[in-house]
């Protein structure tokens, strides 16, 4: 039963940069329609995991299955075409390009109906429509995060990898972004979220994994993790 709606299945994934082992055998699954959160400190391997799933890094061993197909080592441009997309850490928008250009980059592999897609993104984020001809470099942090999410939506994804969306944003903006992710999930987008702000992330997630130094040390439903003493101690500041 569970196998049938598994969208992403990461098995024993190992990634190293030179002599540094960033991931030491990570298992993570994401089911269709879920929000799954990766919790962990800086350097735990969250970004490496997301980048490797997208196809930026080549794993040393292990496998990544997406929608029933083995995509281990497949390049990012093909994965984006097939419905994986990332909202990178630090927003990663192109500051010297206009908001419209940034959005269109998300649809690079399929410009078909791109103006309809842009209109839909503008419905999500009306502020981006007002800024459409502005350089992305002139946007505020929250607006950039919206732009990065909007760009991800432009690729018509099935699963959105979101890397540390709250970093460097004011708490009220963070709540706003979190709410957007919930709404996207209700629309049917599956979300794999990496977040240091564990409490807020677990509140909206279905399941979660705790990463420490490249390994999954704990996993479970969001409720279980919120109640777990070790998680409370280390990540919830309780």
């Amino acid at each position: 039963m569970e196998q049938s709606n598994t969208l992403l299945d990461v098995k024993k994934l190992e990634v190293s940069y030179g002599h540094v082992d960033a991931l030491k055998g990570v298992d993570v699954t994401v089911n269709q329609g879920e929000i799954v959160v990766l919790i962990g400190a800086n350097g735990a391997g969250k970004t490496t995991l997301l980048d490797t799933i997208l196809g930026i890094n080549t794993p040393r061993s292990g496998s990544i299955q997406y929608n029933g197909t083995d995509i281990t080592g497949r390049s990012a441009d093909i994965n984006v075409r097939e419905g994986l997309t990332i909202v990178p850490e630090g927003r990663g928008v192109f500051t010297s390009m206009t908001v419209t250009d940034n959005l269109l980059l998300g649809a690079h592999h399929n410009m078909h109906e791109s103006s309809d897609k842009i209109e839909r993104v503008y419905q999500w984020f009306p502020i981006l429509k007002e800024r459409s001809d502005q350089m992305a470099g002139t946007l505020s942090g929250g607006e950039r995060q919206m732009l990065a999410i909007g760009r991800a939506l432009m690729s018509a994804p099935r699963i959105i990898l979101v890397d540390e969306p709250s970093i460097g944003l004011a708490p009220i903006i963070v709540n706003n972004i979190i709410e957007i992710l919930v709404n996207l999930n209700k629309e049917g987008y599956t979300i794999l979220l990496s977040e240091q702000n564990a409490y807020k992330a677990l509140k909206i997630a279905h399941r979660g994994y705790v990463l420490e130094t490249g390994q999954v040390v704990l996993s479970g439903t969001a409720e279980e993790l919120l109640e777990d003493p070790a998680v409370k101690d280390a990540y919830l500041g309780a």
Partner: protein, 294 residues
């Protein structure tokens, strides 16, 4: 005054050749992520190929122009795998090793030109192509057809390039890679394939430039490529590496400066004086007049 105007027009047509070359060089730097400073030497090789085709076809100008443009595109595309292989083997972009490849290509091209064509003697293009007859004479001002062609084609070429860069899907991908290659990869832009498109486009720019050089100079020698390559590299650095708009201004500026020096200073001191001025600018503005875009 008349000398001044004549030399400015002279300089603009020479400058537009520099602009086209510097644009190609910068495009490879920004999108293919290589330093191909001997790219102008490859352009001169295309001039030679164009000349050979015209010789074989009884000075058929259309075929000559086609040969120049096509050969330039093919040569550029043929070099792409060499550069890209080195980049891939290094795991990521390593701009320094591409510099050595470019140097090797430049040396080989110069040797081919010295031994493979016309027994190493300078070649001269047919009068019909070179367009030496003046099309306009006002007082002392004497503008040749070749200069008019060069200027017009230069303006069209550069405008078309910027249109492509800012109004098309490929251009958008070019700009994304230029700003942030790893960010572009995360968005799903295929770096190598888009890079390949930039080789093709640079080849097209180079081919047009090869024809314009033939029209403007009417001749070529094996050493021409190296000489132009030095200037193009200098223009790119003075403007700020990778700065396309800056390359436009400084390229035209160098052309006009050279022409003015030729107009007012006896003897052929234009290169020495131009480079002394460039040196001074470099000392004042080490990152280029308009800033690097890398």
């Amino acid at each position: 005054m008349e000398v001044f105007i004549a030399q400015v027009i002279n300089g603009l047509s020479l400058g537009s050749v520099y602009v086209l070359l510097v644009t190609g060089f910068n495009l490879l730097l920004l999108v293919a992520l290589i330093i191909h400073f001997s790219y102008p030497q490859v352009v001169v090789l295309s001039m030679y190929i164009s000349w050979t085709v015209m010789n074989l076809t009884g000075n058929n100008i259309i075929l000559g122009i086609l040969a120049g443009i096509l050969s330039s595109i093919i040569l550029n595309m043929a070099m792409a795998p060499i550069f890209q292989r080195v980049m891939r083997n290094r795991g990521q972009v390593d701009i320094n090793s591409t510099l050595v490849i470019s140097m090797a290509i430049g040396m080989i091209v110069t040797d081919i030109l010295s031994h493979g064509f016309n027994r190493g003697f300078p070649i001269s293009f047919s009068e019909t192509l070179a367009g030496n007859q003046s099309s306009l004479t006002i007082g002392l001002i004497n503008i040749s057809q070749g200069q008019v062609y060069t200027l017009v084609v230069g303006i069209i070429g550069v405008s078309a390039f910027f249109w492509l860069l800012y109004k098309t899907r490929s251009g958008r991908a070019f700009r994304a890679i230029a700003e942030d290659p790893s960010g572009a990869k995360q968005v799903g832009i295929p770096l190598l394939r888009t890079g390949l498109a930039s080789y093709a486009l640079t080849g097209l720019l180079g081919g047009v430039t090869a024809v314009l050089l033939a029209v403007l100079l009417g001749s070529a020698s094996p050493g021409l490529g190296e000489q132009v390559a030095h200037k193009v590299l200098a223009v790119s650095i003075i403007a700020g590496l990778g700065n396309l708009a800056g390359g436009l201004v400084v390229g035209l500026g160098l052309g006009i400066m050279e022409a003015l020096i030729q107009g007012y200073v006896a003897g052929s001191w234009s290169n020495a004086i131009a480079f002394i001025i460039l040196l001074v600018v470099m000392l004042i503005k080490p990152r280029g007049v308009f800033g690097m875009k890398l």
